[in-house]
Symmetry: C2
């Protein structure tokens, strides 16, 4: 008998941001797989096996999840944020593509509050006008593609949500990204640094892109470079509806 | 004594996609304001006044919400999806900007599952790589800005989530948008038409942009034009992580 595979988003950190359908899926699961810090957010109980793995093992984890589901288990793969935004959903479908024997498995993707929505809400409405989301990790795409997209996004005057801006193994890309956006004439735009939103470690600050420093971001930070019309009102930052 | 103003996202339709923090805010509210179909999703109870209004009255509604909060009420302004994505949060901050006497009010924005995340999850992971979100309504921005952004988004090879593609009062913009994207060389890209996601009226279909017809969208549809690397696996559509 075949099991089920659910790819679920846990939101940015707070339990108050986990949707009821994700909570229900976790309560029925026999196996939960994911990057260790995300699996650690799932409450252990009898009948549930937790499989924590390293961040770099997405395809291996996805394949293991498919295999367990095919064996009849009720499997949940957890991501933080939304599983479809720079997270596990694409990895599962990549693994599925190479495994036709599993194409008829019962699979569901359950959306979650992705980091940029959590961050935007905390500081106002910086994504209230047209925007884009760019993953700054060049583990899986050429840096030239990232540069091109940053330039075009600046030219389009999109709000720009930057995921995975900086890590210990990639200290230089974000420095270069800030330079590219300044070269594109965006120095006066506001840059929001939102770290560990909705967790006890939450920190959020905003400066002009001119004053932004690479060290303001780490691997737990989501950066939003606002569009040129975005402004402050009191302690808030928002993109007017009529910009552009 | 001052009240509170909460700007909350109800998600795309299903109660299973409403976050616990939004449910908690609604359970404490004295007043809920919003576009009538969204207010209709809130369960009436003693002590709660529901204020339904027309879709075109965002600033009037925002000002009324601020006024009620200043009078000591616990006010929730509801949007579908996420309030910060083409919804009420920007309108509230616009109204706040013109009313310094209210700058110290206690305001919170509570994120929600925005339409593109709900739609993407239903069909796979079409937003698994870099993407953008464009509001096709030209009520508040010039059509030339929309055209420019569509062209740049196609050049960047972003997945493109199109909000408010078509309405009775704006039948032609989406037709033109499809032409622009085809002119930009995107005819072979997949286009996903996701209507009323997570409601009983849900309908989702995908065709190549070449075969997309304007009538496939209405005011309840979210359109995702996928990036050039996005492909089908079984009944799913996903953007590979290594695209670009």
């Amino acid at each position: 008998m075949s099991g089920t595979l659910t790819i679920a988003g846990l939101g940015p950190g707070s339990e108050a941001l986990v949707t009821p359908e994700v909570s229900a899926a976790l309560s029925r699961a026999t196996d939960v797989l994911g990057y260790a810090p995300y699996v650690a957010r799932v409450t252990p109980r009898d009948g549930l096996t937790l499989h924590a793995s390293d961040n770099r093992e997405e395809i291996k984890r996805a394949t293991e999840a498919l295999r367990l589901a095919a064996e009849g288990r009720d499997v949940v793969v957890v991501s933080s944020g939304d599983p479809g935004v720079f997270a596990m959903a694409s990895a599962v479908f990549e693994a599925l593509e190479g495994a036709p024997q599993w194409h008829d498995l019962s699979i569901r993707v359950l959306p979650g509050i992705t980091a940029m929505l959590g961050a935007a809400a905390r500081i106002g409405a910086p994504l209230g006008h047209d925007f884009c989301a760019i993953n700054l990790s060049d583990n899986l795409k050429p840096w030239a593609t990232i540069e091109k997209r940053l330039r075009l996004a600046a030219e389009a005057d999109f709000g720009i949500a930057i995921y995975n801006p900086r890590s210990v193994s990639r200290p230089d890309g974000f420095t270069r990204a800030l330079e590219i956006l300044r070269e594109a004439g965006s120095s006066e735009r506001l840059a929001i640094f939102a770290r560990a939103i909705s967790t006890p470690d939450e920190k959020i600050e905003a400066v002009s892109l001119r004053d932004a420093r690479p060290e303001m971001a780490d691997m737990r930070t989501l950066v939003i470079v606002c569009n040129s019309a975005t402004r402050r009102v009191g302690r808030w930052i928002y993109a007017p509806r009529q910009a552009g």
